[in-house]
């Protein structure tokens, strides 16, 4: 819809203050990096990049200068005369980026641009894209299904579900203070426990009351979800101010830098707990499956979601 290929059923799209809702794609100051790159295979890399400028009848010298600039920006100057088919995935990705950026649009739309790349190249392109974005200063609208990518890439992040924006804010805001249950479970992992809000506590189904402090705007007896991020739960060095729970360690998943513990609380709800495998924590004796453990978290880290 931002690109102009689909019409919204309601509402309007404003671009730099102007309503562009009814405009066709070729009349919008938006350029797109497509998921499949959609390069023109019969044209050379340079001609691909020049396509948009030629449509706008940019004068020849200016055109050559800007194409060269764009090639420089994505570090492909040495491949200018090659055909897209002879390039690698990462290189084609860059051609697609240069082809869109060269037009200096008000907004650059990136539709899952890194989806076809393997993990390593993807990480590299993420960093490069961020650098390029800062260099050119154009607004990038970056669509992705990869939550980590969304967190790393963005200045502002919108989580959409069923066509509705559920939360829009900085990555930190969205991660630390998700607005809804969907956001909490979609971005990162969350331990979600259903319960009822009563007198400054959430009473879980097990009957255990977890103090969460006074929350404005929550009615007494409201059905809520308690959400705690796995890395915010402690298994050792618990301090007096913490909310606590006991459970049985059911499983241990070792992932190199971190270890995830699955702890079953008395009621049958299981919490994931993430611990860094720092020198200090690995030195301690680890827990074994089936063992009784005590968990703790700071009250401000438990979120109450309606």
């Amino acid at each position: 819809m931002i690109g102009g290929f689909a019409d919204p059923t309601e509402g309007s799209i404003l671009l730099a203050g102007h309503d562009v809702t009814g405009l066709p794609p070729n009349k919008r100051d938006v350029n797109t990096v497509f998921q499949s790159y959609a390069l023109f295979d019969h044209l050379s890399v340079a001609d691909n990049i020049a396509f948009g400028l030629k449509r706008r009848r940019v004068e020849k010298q200016e055109l050559r200068r800007r194409v060269a600039e764009a090639l420089e920006l994505v570090q492909l100057a040495h491949l200018a005369t090659r055909k897209p088919r002879t390039l690698s995935g990462g290189q084609r990705q860059r051609v697609a980026l240069a082809r869109a950026l060269v037009n200096r649009p008000a907004v650059l739309l990136l539709d899952e641009p890194l989806g076809a790349l393997d993990l390593k190249l993807r990480r590299q392109m993420q960093i490069e894209l961020k650098q390029i974005q800062r260099e050119v200063g154009i607004t990038f609208v970056f669509v992705t299904h990869d939550q980590d990518e969304a967190l790393t890439m963005s200045d502002r992040l919108a989580v959409m579900n069923g066509g509705v924006i559920e939360h829009c804010g900085t990555p930190e805001d969205v991660y630390e203070r998700p607005a809804t249950r969907f956001v909490a479970s979609f971005i990162g992992t969350s331990n979600l426990m259903p319960g009822v809000y009563r007198n400054g506590s959430v009473v879980l189904e097990s009957g255990q009351a977890v103090p969460v402090g006074r929350r404005a705007g929550l009615a007494e007896g409201a059905e809520v979800s308690l959400s705690i991020r796995p890395e915010k739960i402690w298994l050792s060095e618990l301090t007096p101010g913490m909310a606590r729970a006991t459970g049985v360690l059911r499983d241990t998943v070792y992932c190199g830098a971190t270890t995830t513990y699955l702890v079953e609380l008395a009621a049958g709800t299981t919490l994931a707990v993430l611990e860094q495998n720092t020198a200090r924590s690995r030195m301690e004796d680890r827990w074994s499956n089936g063992q009784q453990v005590e968990l703790g978290w700071l009250p401000e880290h438990s979120l109450v979601l309606g």
Partner: protein, 285 residues
Amino acid sequence: MSATRRPAATARRRRRGVERKPLFAFACTAVFFFLLYLPIGAVALFSFNGQKSLVVMKGFSLRWYRAFFHDQQLLASLRMSLEVSTLATACALVIGVGLALGLVRSRGRVGSYAAFIMLVPLITPEIVTGVGSLTLFKGIGMTLGFGTVTLAEVTFSISYVTVILRSRVAALNPETEEAALDLGATRWQALRLVTLPALLPAIISAGVLVFAMIFDDFVLAFFTTGVSPEPLAVNIYSQIRLGVQPTINAVGTLMLLGSLALIALAIVVPRLFGRTGGLEILTGD
């Protein structure tokens, strides 16, 4: 000794297994090609015959080629066939490419019905189409000749062009055309600058195939042509009724050379534009 022989023995065993050459299949293929090209070879050979005989080869001469180039009637026929083929191929390509684009992109019932109707001419016996065309042209009072033959051939060829192009259009990445629009191209520019170049190899293949089919088509041409000049195939047929002239061998050999040149062109031209193939469809790739 035994140490050096063992690898050889393994190699032999392997050869007898998976990697053994399928000699029987090779033989069958060889026989098939021999039988397929035998008559064509005979035509080429006898076109250089010094004698009038179509059975006995005696001496080498170019007399039948000379005879052909002096036969005004045959030359007129050849020219007519070339003109009809060129014009009809061009028309069929324009209509066929348009149809293929339309059929692939139209959603819903009209598209699928139209796609089915497209295939009917492919399975209709040509003689039915021929008689039908004749009746139609006579019925609306058209004079038989160049115009009627061309019209009939166009009608007959559209289906082939569409069938060849349709799979190629369907294989196109729809995002490519969207990308062109996104970069400021109008719909017409997107078609001309992005979609058609992407289809060019398939268009060339379809063109070569259809040109060859029209050029040597006999049935439709026979029913829809006027008296003079007749298309080459019709002309040759009427000559045979009067007794076979070896000139026909010369004509046949020249036509063969023409076809080979055309195929070579279809392979070479796309390569010049930096693309491989062009005849992928004819060769089944």
